[in-house]
Each structure stands twice: as C-alpha cells, then as structure tokens.
C-alpha cells in the first residue's frame, strides 16, 4: 500500500464526526500522535481554530502551502489563491456527501420519482 495522503501542515481534511461533520479544516500544527491543531479557516469553512483528534479527520488530497502555525489570515489567502473550495466541490467525497444529503431530504413524491426513473 502506498500512502498518498499525509498529515502535514497545510493538509486539508474533512471532519467526519461531531458537530462540525462535513466541514473542511486545515492542519496548522501537529500536537502529538493523536491530535492536530486545526483551523477552518473559520471565515470560509466555519471551523474554529481548535485541537482535534486524527480519528475525526478524513484527509483529502488537497494541500495548501502555509507555514507552521499560520494565522487565519494567511490560510484564507492560501485558500483563495489555490481555489481549495472549488477543488473540494469537484471531489468525489464532496459529491457523495451532497448525494447523501439530497437523499435524506427527499419527500415521498421525490422518492416516487426516483423509483420510476
């Protein structure tokens, strides 16, 4: 097995458990073998700067070039320059999340339409 996704400063990850489920965050620093310091950035993804367990992160293949312990401003700039949100919206994981969300919000008529299709 070759690993292609790494925990590193600037790795964008999706939070897969908890209140912030489905939101993106960027790894800003590694605290220890279990925890990372992570920032949304809050203005873009809604995730506050906080420590989070790696178990709650699903690493994506998107990385941004930021220095260690970058401030929110720097991460926002990097996000805009590297068009992270666009890349994320095209990714299969995001599309899967959207599909699941759509299925969960269908009403009976929509399910009937799907059944016929």
């Amino acid at each position: 097995m070759v690993f292609t996704k790494f925990v590193e400063v600037g790795r964008v990850a999706m939070i897969n458990y908890g209140e912030d489920y489905g939101k993106l965050c960027t790894i800003v620093n590694v605290i220890n073998g279990n925890l990372a310091l992570v920032d949304g950035p809050q203005n873009i993804t809604g995730v506050q700067r906080q420590k989070i367990n790696f178990k709650r992160l699903t690493l994506t293949d998107i990385t941004v070039k930021i220095p260690l312990n970058a401030r929110q401003k720097t991460i926002v700039k990097a996000f805009e320059e590297e068009k992270v949100i666009d890349a994320w919206n095209e990714s299969s994981l995001k599309k899967k999340l959207d599909r699941m969300e759509k299925r969960a919000s269908l009403n009976d008529f929509d399910r009937f339409k799907v059944m016929l299709a």
Binding site: M1, F3, T4, K5, F6, V7, E8, V9, N16, Y17, Y21, N29, V30, I31, N32, L35, L37, R49, Q50, K51, F54, K55, L57, T58, L59, D61, P67, L68, N69
Partner: protein, 178 residues
C-alpha cells in the same frame, strides 16, 4: 464523563488573632475539576505544611486561571511525586498540548496507564512551559519539525453518528484510506 480539569489559584491564611493580626498569606496553584475540590486540596496541603486548618483559617480568594492562548501548541514540563505500590517517587514528564489543563489531563491519564497511579496518588509539584530546544523527552522532540509529515496508517472506519452504528455489517472493514 468527568468534568474538565481546571487551574485555580487559592489564597488563604490563618485567621487573624490578637497575637497575630496579619498572618502571612499562602497562595497555591491547584488543578481540580471544580472550585469545591480546589478549596479542599488547598486545606489538605496547607494543613500538612503549616499549622492551620479549615476551621482555624480562611480562604481569601479562589480564582480560575484560564489559558491565555489556547490556539498555540506548547510543550509542558511537569514535576510530579507519586505513590507506587512500594514507595514514593519523583518524576519529570513532558506533554505537548494547547492548554496547561489539557496537558495535566494527559499527565493523569499517562500516569494511570503507565504506572497504575490513580489521580489521588499523584501530586503535581511544578508545571512549566518548556521551549522546544529545552525539552528532554524524545517522543516530544519528534514533533518539533516544521516539515512534519506522516500518513494515518491504520484508520478504523466509524459511523458519523452513534445512531448510524450497525449491529451487524456484511462487509469487512478497510483500514486503508490512502
């Protein structure tokens, strides 16, 4: 689930009397889950160290110390004294966390796991923020790398919410996520 450990500064003194109208103040840094326990710990230590107790003294103030910057990662050095099954020992341990109280929680868990020393047997002598170059433990030093990079080698898949846990699953889990 236990409440979080918080840091309190308790200041107390012996009750003023005619002989001693201005007794010296004693200040103590206490790590406790609530203020009640903090006060109790204060009297436990002061009763052992000085000739005063809850009935003959007074606590003048209990203030919680909140982490000044919980968004930066720091290295904490901790000097402890703990009871093992056959004696009392001193220890120095290092933990990396964003807050001192977080590091103290890690320490209690670590002492419990590694030495079977329950929280009641562990006494914190001193805590300090240590600069990365002054840390002594290799497991901490390995994190001091601005280009740190490692894969998550063994991922245990988990339902996104407790309600989606299945009692029986038909497929074997894959622990590789790339």
């Amino acid at each position: 689930k236990k409440m979080a450990i918080r840091e309190f500064i308790v200041v107390g003194r012996k009750e003023p009397s005619e002989a001693e109208p201005n007794p010296p103040l004693y200040r103590m840094q206490v790590f406790a889950r609530n203020e009640v326990i903090a006060r109790s710990r204060f009297w436990y230590v002061l009763h052992a160290a000085r000739k005063m107790k809850k009935t003959t003294g007074e606590i003048l103030s209990v203030n919680e110390v909140v982490e000044k910057n919980p968004n930066t990662v720091k290295n904490f050095g901790m000097w402890l004294r703990y009871n093992s099954r056959s004696g009392i020992h001193n220890m120095y341990k290092e933990f990396r966390d964003t807050t001192l109280c977080g590091a103290v929680e890690q320490m209690y868990a670590d002492m419990n796991g590694r030495h079977r020393a329950r929280a009641s047997s562990v006494h914190i002598i001193k805590t300090a923020v240590v600069k990365a170059e002054d840390t002594r433990r290799p497991n901490l030093k390995q994190m001091h790398n601005s280009k740190i990079k490692f894969p998550l080698t063994h991922i245990q898949p988990r339902a996104s919410h407790k309600r989606y846990r299945a009692k029986f699953v038909t497929s074997r889990p894959t622990t590789f996520a790339g």
